[in-house]
Structure formats: structure tokens, C-alpha cells
Amino acid sequence: MTIETRPLHQQLGMSDEEYESLLEILDREPRPAELAMYSVMWSEHCSYKSSRKHLRRFPTEAPWVVVGPGENAGVVDIGDGWLAALRIESHNHPSFVEPYQGAATGVGGILRDVFTMGARPIALWDQIRFGPLDQPKNRYLFKGVVSGIAGYGNAVGVPTVGGELEFDDSYSGNPLVNVMCLGVLRREQLVLGTAGQPGCVAVLLGRATGRDGIGGASVLASASFDESSADKRPSVQVGDPFEEKKLIEACLELYEQGLVVGVQDLGAAGLSCATSEPAGRAGVGMDVDLDAVHTRESDMSAAELLMSESQERMMAFVAPDNVDRVLSVAAKWEIESTIVGEVRRGDTLTVRMGGDVVARIPAASLADDAPLYDRPARRPEWLDDLWAIASDYSELLPGETLLALLADPNVGSSAWVHEQYDHMLFLNTVIGPGSDGSLLRLKGTEKALAVSTDGNGTLCLLDPRRGGERLVYEAALNVAVTGARPLAVVDNLNFGNPEKPEVMWQFIESIEGISQACETLGIPVVGGNVSFYNETEGEDINPTPVVGLLGLADPAPERPPRLSRAREGMEIWELGPKSTGNFAGSALQRLRGEPGGRPSPADPEDAVRVTELARDLAYHVPVLHDISDGGLAVGLAEICIASQIGAVVDSTSIQLLFSEDPHRLLVVMEPAAVSLPPDYSRQIGVIGGNSIVFGAETSVGLEDLVAAWKGAIPMRLGLDAVSADAP
């Protein structure tokens, strides 16, 4: 045990300069509880102090945007009085400390962001990244995270209908766990995070407050990771999906009956955030009585109560006349509720405990006066060396290469993951996990919502701007193949230590790429999240922006394309620009452990053209699949495996079959079923037989393909020893 001698503000993660500016704002020394509140609210996680300046680059406007970035979730208009709310969040560090609970509480948190807006959460998507599965620690984290997402998501009753999975060395000491949530609501049910008028009452709903996750935002999510992280363990939060389920139903009933003025969830920074932010947004003050907070543990200090990140809590702001009805709705759903505050004229947030004032501060200042940094950025010198790497795979054989790729957990079946998730609840899942975008029908309408989430750490390592741009286009294409038009994007920016200029450069470049692609497609970014300090012992993760793209199909195709609808005699076409044969950042390169070269740039014209073509074709052809990880050969194999039939492909060229250039699609259809633009498409083979034959030379049997693909993950977990991995 070392005795802590640093001043309190430093222990709470606040720099000396930040402390100086706090002294200026208050014009006095802060009380302990005040210091606690500022320290969490000014943490990187809550204040976005290193990223705010750059996030302004994102295009955020479109006629259909109802709520843009800044609220708990973005909201877009999908017509006929319906709105969709979406948000993405990371829970990276908590998942490293305790994979099950870290992932579980990540799911709980993102759900609250969405039902805070008045929406019923209808689906989740998880984007998870780990080090290679040959290391026991990585297996332990992977299995823990998947069961945490399953354990919470299934029990809370929101289906997880898709996601993403990536394995790479750079995530070994720092797994990434991102979760996206989509909700729908009627326009009149939209609720914002406002405290309302003076006189409104603050009602705290849900679980009792304990010492869970004290300092989670400042300590776990906003600092570097090293061996001493073990000492940070007391901040682990434990999720309770049962409580959250009741909370969802109770809140939705409150909205339906129009009983609340505003709502704010209690996430990072807990009560500090749930009082100051809504008051700040509404331009009012508030009196808060900590004695009223229902607690799980005794003797909690004011600072602890204000910082606690106990899960499954919401703050509702209610007009005085409605308070009794709110309390009785809570009682009906068997959740606890207490009145903890009242909205006041002015702008002062006053917090009392045991009769004493423990904090009295300008409500808006916690958010508005947060520090803002313009950290230095520099292009990494090593990038030139990476770009100089040339990959030549012409000596490889197509059949063997395909088998090896399918057996790679980055490429093979993710069924081991997604079969642990309830992906069918609510009877909306027309296309679930295992193809491109997910497609969810909206019952009672002809609409369907499509979502694809995409990230690619290797691509973004090699070129963060091109990488960011291509992620958006890939996601757009993934929703287009279900018949949907791209509508809006949320992003989750997972990066290393922002105090390193190279990381800052990667960050800015990625934002630029994502922004350019969104502008080309005419879609806004309606929300997102930044996760910095993803590093272990000084090693940063690959820059890993993740985008979640929402699309709308209206009316949805009656029979949307499916990977499983290829039949004997159908033609296989490649649609889009011709491949340049570039392997930079490809699955094949990763498999061979030698990422390098410069990824091909995206082409805005091709992006728009191919996305629109795909959307039209989705109403007419049985199979439509974008070409991404593993290139054309893997895309085709996925179709063959799903349809349980072989194919004959004209080419044996490794470059054509396995390189990864953007904006390309596979179309499978009856001969001449539709006419594809001749300048933009090529027939590459036909469906049939029980193997994939390349140029009549080499062939690989369907059964072998299926075995390789299905076994990609289970084989590496040693199915017989599912729990054999030590923490």
C-alpha cells in the first residue's frame, strides 16, 4: 500500500490547470462534493475535452433530423408520425476489468440512452474486438463479454440482431466493447433531457444507490491502463437487467400518459450529471436533497452519492400536479421512486445533505465551463514504412486460400456469438445476424429499418481517413442490399492516448473521412461517442472508429435478398468498379500477419452509384451481397454456404478473388432476370454443384468450406473446454 499524498484533485483525475480554472469559476475553494462533481463531469469521458473541437467537423443536419448530437440519442423522422432514436456507446475499460459485468452494464447504459428519449428500444448491435484467441486471457475476455451481452440483453428483453467481431493483436491488452441501440417512437412521445420550469419536481426512479463505479468515468474510462489497474477494481458495477426491464416499461408508461416534462438517465457521473445537465439545458437552477436518495449502503458521503454510477436509475422531471401519478406508475411496475429535488428559478444547483449545503454551483458550469483542449497532432513517421510494404500473393492457390480465410475467426461464422443472443424477440427481425445489414420491419406499416455497423482497425491503421470514409460507404452498401436508403450515422471513436500527437492525428483523419463520406451520401451524424486512452503499457490500439448506419426501406421489399436464396443455374455477377487488386488492409493480409500498403481510396461517384443500384436491385434479385472482408471469393463462399450449393467461377486470379477494393457487390439471379449496366458489371460464374470450382482447375468441396467456416471460432475455443480459461 502506498500512502496517497497527492492533492485531492489529482487523485480525482483533475490536472492542476483544471483545478486553477475551477477556483476561478467558483471564486473560492471547492467543497469536497463540488470537487467530486467537477472532476467526473470534466473527465475525458463526460466532457469530451480532447475531442469536442474536432467533432464539430461532422455534418449533422438534414431535413429529417429531429434531434442531433448533444442529447442522449439522435432522433430522425422516418415518416407517418414515426421517429427512430439511435445511439452507440463503448464500455471498453470496464469490460477489461470484468468482462461479464462490463459488457452487461454497457448494454444497460445504451438502452437507457434510447428510452430516455421516449423511444421503445427495439434492437441492439454489438461491436466487439479482442486479441487473438490463442491466448487464454483473450478467450476469457471474449467469452465473458459475449455472455455479458447475452445475459443482459436477453433478460432485459431487447434483441441483439447483429454486430461485428474483430480479432487483432492490438486489442490484446485492451478489448473494445461497443454497443448500439435503436428505438422507435411516435412523434408526440419525444422526451428531452430538460428539467422543465421552476416548480417541477425531480423524481429518482429505479435501483438503490450504492458505491458502484465511483470514479468509473474519470478513472476507468479516462485514464491509461497498466498493471495497477487491478487496484481500480472496486469501481466495478453490477447490472440488473430485471430492474432495467421494469424501468423501461414504467418509463414508457409515463411517456404514454404524458406525465413527464423531461428525463435524464443516470450513467457516467450519476447524479451529478442527471441534475446539472437537465438544469443547464433548461436554463434553470435546482435544489437537490441527498437524504432522499434511496441507498443500498449506509454512510455514503455526499461526494459518493453524487459520483456513484449505480445502474438502472433514471431521473424524471415532473410538474407538481403529476407527481402522485408518477409515483403510482412506478409502484405498479414495482420499482422504487423518491422525490429528490425541485427546479428553481435562477441558475444555481444547490445540493443539501443532513441539513448542510454540500454544493452550490452554477448548474450549467459543470458542462459549459468544461476544459477544451486542442491537442497537437502529427502524422506518424512509421506510416511511410507501412505504405512501402507490397503484398504479392500470386503464388497462392485459390481453394486453399479460401479455406484458410474461412477458418479465420475474423472471417468465419460468428454463429457461436450471435446464437447466444436473442435476435428474434418482437417479431421484427426479417434479416438478422449472419448477412450484411439487419432488416427490422415496423409492424403496422410498410416500412423496415436497416442497420449496419462497421469498423476495421487494420484499414484505419494504414489510412485513417480512407478507412473512415470506406466504413461509411460499406455500411451504406450493407443497408442498401436490404432495400434501404441511408438515413443517418452514429459513430464510436475508439482510439489510443490523445496526449500522443500521432493518435490525435489518426483521430482527426478518421473524422475527416467519415465526414466526407456522410456529405457525399447526404446523411448526417446524429450522435456518437469517443473512447480515448485505449492503450496498455504505452501501446495504443489500432485506430478503430466504428460507424452504425441507419437506413429506411419504405415500402420494404416483400422478399428481400438473402444469402440463402441461390439456386442451381443462377448467374453470378460482380457489380461496381473493377477491382484494382489492392490487398492493403485485407483479410488475407491479416491472416498472413503482414498488414501494409496503402488502402485504395473510396470514390464518391462509385459510392453513390453502387449504393443506389443495390437499393433498386434489392426489390428484384434473390441474392445481393457486398464484397468486403476476404474479397469476392469469401463473399461468394458465404452465399454458397448459406444456400448449400456450389459454384463455378471463371477466374483463378488471387488478386481478383481476394483483394479488397470498395464499392463492389455480388448479384446472383436467374439468367437475364434483370439487366445490369454493362460498363459496371461482369458475369463471373454460375451457381451449381457441390463445390466451388475456380477456372475449372482447382475446386474445394462445399462440406470442407462449411466445416472451416463453422469451426472458425469454436475450434479456437476448444469446444470441450468452454470454461477452461482462467481470468
Binding site: 470484468e98 459485468q101 435501483r207 453490477v238 440488473d240 430492474e243 443500498r296 470454461s723 481470468p727
Partner: protein, 80 residues
């Protein structure tokens, strides 16, 4: 040798299951239940002659696999 490993969730870690069970007991009229914690116990037969050695091996198993050090403490009891 018969070994009993009791794995207890650390007191500061929330126990939603225990809280739910307590509510259910109260509804049934057992209002005297003042706290409820749900924990785990592992009953094992372990080959070996020396109780001390068996204990230290099982403690090792706990650290490596049986207990989650982030959330739980453990106790090992070797039957005489």
C-alpha cells in the same frame, strides 16, 4: 478428500439477485429477513492424503478458475 469451497460476493459489490429474493420473501410475509446474499458453494472430492497440500492446491484452483477475483472472495474447507 472432501473439500468445500464457499465463494462469496464481496460485501461492497451489489447483489441484485439477493435483493430480488429478499423482496419475494417479504411479499410472502417473511419480513424478518433483513439481508439476503446469494453466494456459491462448490463441493469437491479431491485425491490426496495431505490436507494442507490439498487445501493449497484448491486455493490455487480458486485463484485461477473457480472464483472471480474482481467480485468474489473464497474460503476453502477440507473435511477432516
Amino acid at each position: 478428500m472432501r473439500v468445500t469451497v464457499t465463494i462469496n460476493r464481496r460485501p461492497e459489490i451489489a447483489d441484485p439477485e439477493g435483493a430480488t429474493v429478499m423482496r419475494a420473501l417479504h411479499e410472502l410475509g417473511y419480513t424478518e429477513a433483513a439481508t439476503v446474499r446469494m453466494d456459491r458453494v462448490i463441493h469437491m472430492e479431491v485425491d490426496g492424503d495431505d490436507a494442507d497440500e490439498v487445501r493449497s492446491r484448491v486455493e490455487e484452483m480458486c485463484r485461477q478458475l473457480l472464483a472471480n477475483p474482481v467480485l468474489e472472495d473464497f474460503e476453502v474447507e477440507v473435511a477432516p
